[in-house]
Symmetry: C2
Subunit: 445 residues, 2 copies
Amino acid sequence: MSDLRQRTTAQKEEPKSEPPADEEEGEDAHELTLNANADSLPQASDNTSEAIDSALKDLTPRWRNWIIRGIFSLIMIFSFGGVIWLGPLAVVLLVMVIQIKCFHEIITIGYVVYKSHELPWFRTLSWYFLICSNYFFYGESMIQYFGVLLSRTEFMTPFVTYHRFFSFSLYISGIVAFVLSLVKKHYLKQFTLFGWTHVTLVILVTQSHLIIQNIFEGLIWFLVPVSMIICNDIMAYIFGFFFGRTPLIKLSPKKTWEGFIGGAFSTVVWGLMISYILVQFDFFVCPIEYDMAAESLSLSCERAPVFKLAEYTLPQFVQNLCRTVGIHCNTFTTYPMMLHSIYMSLFASIIGPFGGFFASGFKRAFKIKDFGDTIPGHGGFMDRFDCQLLMATFVHVYHSSFIKAVSPQKLVQQILSLKPEEQLQVFNMLRDGLTQRGLLPIGAQ
Amino acid sequence: MSDLRQRTTAQKEEPKSEPPADEEEGEDAHELTLNANADSLPQASDNTSEAIDSALKDLTPRWRNWIIRGIFSLIMIFSFGGVIWLGPLAVVLLVMVIQIKCFHEIITIGYVVYKSHELPWFRTLSWYFLICSNYFFYGESMIQYFGVLLSRTEFMTPFVTYHRFFSFSLYISGIVAFVLSLVKKHYLKQFTLFGWTHVTLVILVTQSHLIIQNIFEGLIWFLVPVSMIICNDIMAYIFGFFFGRTPLIKLSPKKTWEGFIGGAFSTVVWGLMISYILVQFDFFVCPIEYDMAAESLSLSCERAPVFKLAEYTLPQFVQNLCRTVGIHCNTFTTYPMMLHSIYMSLFASIIGPFGGFFASGFKRAFKIKDFGDTIPGHGGFMDRFDCQLLMATFVHVYHSSFIKAVSPQKLVQQILSLKPEEQLQVFNMLRDGLTQRGLLPIGAQ
């Protein structure tokens, strides 16, 4: 969402880390102490190669920023397309890389803001906690989807069976190390940074876990929401750039109602288009499952109802409207996914931006303009992915509440992993239950 | 674990909130700003009724504290016994009450330390997030254990089916409200307190969720670990009080190696005793399940293997040792639970105290002596329950890694909640699977 800001000047020509004017007065000692350090953070720049620089030198800063931002947006979108072409596991890896980079950016801010250069172990422990929590969450996903496969290797069996115990032991060791690393005079800083690390972990690791779960449910549950946020970002920026007049929210003074509404409208249209296209391909709609017989990831599936054409009755007033203009329109046929995409677009464009506002407020609290300077014209990774996190959680909850059904296959797989006598026990109980309910003839064995 | 401290003086006679001498020098402006406010926090006192006061007036402060602490320890233990007598659901309620009180204590510290009196909405939002997360976690437990029962009432059905969606909507509303409540000049405080609230939630709500899960697995999984921590607290205090000489850790200068070792030894013995006693009663070992036929909580069960006598072979060197003294001792018979109790005792007395050290460090960071003054002679609830949280998580992970098995009953219940045609599909797939594996005769229908 941070695209809604109209970067009208390239930062090269601004004095770096000049605090926004509206925050000058009224700081207490606490905030000033922190602020004093913020200029050592890497900030966004439009630094690019000299070739591009000289080609753009005659443009006004506003247009130069526009073009650099555009070029790097395209580069990102095409690289992203390449990763998708490589398949779902490459996408999972990409999510992991982005998560690590975002973690790095946020931890660096904490490190600089709290002047923790002399703190023993702080960085090491933060990264250790990141590794622990990823070990736990990635492990959970792997076991959920490839448990049977992993258990085949004797070496891996204990890691599957006792995964939570190992994760817990790793984490507790971190807590013990933290307590032992506490140093007189630094208690307050150390606890502050402990909290800082953990809030970051909750925000990044749990949500990227949900993103990965979405990928496993079928690439469409990842691509549609991600592209919606990108579309909303770009279109809100463009609408804001050309038509922006009315300020939207104090927190992000460069965001406008025109950008907000233009973005929302474009996102709904985009959502319908992209859903319609992706629904056509098994590659996007099939959940990622390991095919035991073929010994590879399965690339086809029995389609879930949400991807099959269905007939809907139109509301009465629409039917009446049709009748007045002489058309017969009682029903229409479409993929249920198309209707779900509307709800997702609305979330992406109405609630999604609050992820961006939250990030803006955070940056203002710590007097920084961007989370980093990784992507020319864009800032850090966190600047680019702030709204993706909220969206991913929404899609995960939406999918598991309204779409996902317990799959009979999964239940059977669970039963067949029990001990033989328990398998028979389940079978007998089930047979009795079904017979009682009249679903099986009484004589059946 | 905070009992290891030997409170040698009643605080009445100390000037309140005098900072510990070893933290006087070397504070930066940030820490001093915070410290200036800490004396408005309620601190532990031995304030009791006048009757007790006058009865104890001739004793030295050290002994007076000992007796007041002792009286209130007994009161707590007996009230706790009463709640257990009322049954598992009363225990669940107790856990909830304690969690809310602990949350209140920690939030109050944040409120005082960061001088957030003028911050709009901060308290309201913190409590709102507490309610959301409890709605989510308690709801998850309720649905997991009583889902079928709850779904019988038509009114409740959507709350069961869409539980996660409702929880998420509540939470997101809180985030939106937080962003909208952001006020220029207070950004830093507001984000700090947002982080403060969330770290508190992660520590308290997730862990009390695990405690409740333990209760549902059978009261023994709650009582044994809780009583171990209490035993370790009391015995470490007593050993420290009478024999304490050697300081254990800088962070808690009043804790001693003598207390630590005495506590550990007593806890192992206590763990064996209490496990042996509780294993005898169905009331303690049966998981809490709703009996659909009897329409009430079931009070009996088929005992899990961990509560049935089993024969163990002794290690070779013990066998040899026996032989040298002329005894035959190849095997011994006991409840597996007894052996598990040893691991739990060791965790309770070796790693458990780190929960207390962590809390001590936290209190020192914010220059407070106790979390509150709720329990005379003890301080706040958090002072008393700091180690219970870590222990509960350990027991949960231990139980789910080494003891819990997927119950055939639960699987059958899951299958019978599918659509009729899916129930039949599972039945047929299962029959084919079992026939293939040779567990069912080929002719069986």
